[in-house]
Amino acid sequence: MPYVVRRPDRNLWEQSYVPETVRGLGVTLRHFFRNVFGRRDTVTLLYPEQRRPYPPRFRGLHRLTQRDDGAPRCTACLCCQTACPAECIHIVAGEYPPEHPLAHVEKYPVEFWIDELRCVSCGLCVEACPCDAIRMDTGLHPRPVEARPHLIYERNLLLSISDTAGNVHTANPRKK
């Protein structure tokens, strides 16, 4: 049901400024004294000394998961590159030579670049990965750097990043 919001009558109480000002002072002073004696209402975090743990779903910097043997889980299918609305992922696919122990996997990323400066942290790449090879569960955010190339992360760096629990492996149960 619609109802009409209140508009105060403008009687002497309001018109004389003083009582309402005093009431307002009451609010600010309440906060003042609560904060001086106990600091209970402050929400500010004194970063970097204090840090709020990021929630598990926090979409941070990317990482590439590893297979049990340390090779990249990624098979360079380019789904993430396709799904990325910011076009920040660049992959060059390559083929394992026939004598390679992982020859049965056939394909792997020779190059895998993520321009974290272009990334909009939407997480579509993680969703688009059919192998659980790319994740954003690192709990890290891009750090300030001195030059743009420093935030263009390449394959081995991405592979070396672990999730918040230090895990570098994947939930993908496939052995192949």
């Binding site: 098979t75 360079a76 299918c77 380019l78 789904c79 396709t82 696919a93 390559g94 083929e95 026939p98 020859a103 049965h104 996997v105 056939e106 394909k107 059919p130 192998c131 496939r174 192949k176």
Partner: protein, 509 residues
């Protein structure tokens, strides 16, 4: 003529037409793996089953000849269930390979799964799947993955019926059946890449294209194969200025649905050895320069040579428009009277598609010049003799090669080369001016049969390359000479009446 009804729509087709072809004529797409309009009917994939009234069982529409009064339904619950079951069956032993499979994105299994199945797997483990050969190298261009194969035998029939070289065979039975190369052979005939092209799934893939680019990134532009004088119709697949492959474009009158291996790989003419900036100097003295400097140098060099000792080299590799522009420039502005022609050297031919002349536009050059151009050897001879001292040359390839030819060209005092890529002619030139590749310009080729075929521009010119008419206009301005054309439209208008009768059917896209 046979009159039948498909999904409530009547159609009259010639005797012997199959239901699937009749439906296609109506615009009804019946899913199929093994059927190909150019190949014989195998009817082994069972994807094209349709319901025909008064027939208790579903019928394979690829094999079913249209008959008078036949009433066909292509989308009944029974048909849908059959297709779903067929898809489940085909995917039963299929490996989880989409991430590494090049076919993903143009795979019939993917398309039909989305259209007709969409159900979850009932096979919860990969362990039960039949394991077969993977990554079997069939030939120089083709690689085979037996696990992905749906045994449609299109490739087998293609080799046997079109190429008439039955190099591929079926081996084993049931779950374990797969395609193999006949003992003692490799898949090395001149049309081997067409087996990968007809393969509806990712079983046969091109070794050249393997892992280069995902197909969903590719943009396709209709083009004419620049590989030989047959002038096969094709699509050029490209992405971000890079070409990746040519695919056949159906033209029943010319190349039907096929393209030879050389044709498929002719895209490399666009990618490799490109000249992207104007250059001055020969050999070790070569250095890239700005357009102004290159054109000034070209003008200075050409001015030194008297009119009678100037020549122009046309190119059978290049379009009519480019050749006409050069011919007009040379004749009207430079006063050249001697015209020569260059191009790639001749190669093998066969009775299917391949032509011995490996240049797409030799007939076009003749039409544009209005006379037979002299062969390049004569230029070499005259240069050696000193009677021709300067030339403007289009194209990279030299039709004559060898040390004598090279030495002859080096005797020229002014050789201005206009070429999209490096080659013997540009290497011998004093000034190299980059022009667009076949994919970067629109134009017309006239094939050996005299059919003129236009093709559109697929990409914008790479680097600093300039369209030939544009480039010549700038050069003419440097030389303070007038030109008979002012715009690309002028060139097209001048070229059109000189073209032979266009191809009767399907020639021009």
């Amino acid at each position: 003529m046979r009159k039948l009804t498909i999904d409530g729509r009547e159609i009259e087709v010639a005797e012997g037409t199959t239901v699937i072809a009749a439906a296609r004529a109506l615009g009804i797409d019946i899913p199929h793996f093994c059927w190909h309009p150019e190949l014989s009917v195998a009817a082994n994939c069972r994807m094209c089953l349709v319901e025909v009234e008064k027939q208790p069982k579903l019928q394979p529409s690829c094999q079913l000849e249209a008959a008078d009064g036949m009433v066909v339904h292509t989308d009944t619950p029974k048909v849908r269930e059959a297709r779903r079951a067929m898809m489940e069956y085909l995917l039963l032993n299929h490996p989880v390979d989409c991430p590494i499979c090049d076919q993903a994105g143009e795979c019939k299994l993917q398309d039909y799964y989305m259209l007709y199945d969409l159900k979850a797997s009932r096979l919860w483990s990969e362990e039960g799947k039949v394991r077969k050969r993977k990554r079997a190298i069939f030939g120089p261009h083709v690689i085979y993955d037996a696990e992905r194969c749906v045994m449609c035998t299109r490739c087998v029939r293609f080799c046997a019926e079109v190429v008439r070289d039955p190099v591929l065979i079926e081996v084993h039975r049931g779950d374990h059946s797969e395609i193999a190369v006949a003992p003692g052979r490799t898949l090395d005939h001149a049309y081997s890449l067409m087996t990968a092209h007809v393969c509806p799934v990712g079983a046969l893939t091109s070794r050249d294209f393997r892992f280069q680019c995902r197909v969903w990134f590719l943009a396709s532009t209709p083009t004419i194969c620049p590989g030989c004088a047959t002038g096969c119709n094709a699509f050029l697949d490209h992405h971000r200025g890079e070409a990746f492959r040519l695919r056949p474009r159906e033209n029943p009158a010319l190349n039907r649905s096929w393209l030879c291996d050389d044709g498929v790989l002719a895209f490399r003419l666009h990618n490799d050895h490109r000249l992207t900036a104007p250059e001055l100097g020969r050999g070790d003295d070569a250095r890239p320069v700005a357009w102004d400097e290159a054109l000034a140098e070209a003008a200075t060099l050409l001015r030194k040579v008297p009119k009678t000792q100037r020549a122009a080299v046309l190119s059978a590799e290049h379009s009519c428009e480019e050749n006409w522009a050069l011919a007009a420039f040379a004749r009207e502005a430079l006063g050249v009277e001697r015209f020569f022609v260059t191009g790639r050297t001749a190669g093998t031919a066969d009775d299917l598609l391949r032509h011995a002349d490996k240049n797409p536009n030799r007939a076009g050059v003749r039409s544009m010049l209005g006379a037979e151009p002299e062969p390049l050897e004569r230029l070499v001879d005259e240069a050696t003799a000193g009677s021709i001292r300067g030339a403007v040359a289009l194209g990279a390839a030299a039709a004559t090669q060898g040390p004598a030819a090279a030495a002859g060209l080096l005797r020229l005092e002014a050789l201005v080369s206009i070429a999209p890529r490096r080659g013997p002619l540009p290497e011998a030139a004093h000034v190299r001016l980059p022009s667009p590749s076949f994919a970067e310009t629109a134009g017309t080729y006239v094939n050996a049969r005299g059919q003129a075929q236009e093709f559109p521009q697929a990409m914008s010119p790479r680097g600093e390359a300039l369209e030939v008419p544009d480039l010549l206009a700038r050069l003419a301005r440097r030389l303070d000479l007038g030109l008979p054309f002012r715009s690309a439209a002028d060139v097209r208008a001048a070229v059109a009446p000189r073209l032979p009768r266009p191809a009767a059917e399907g020639g021009a896209p």
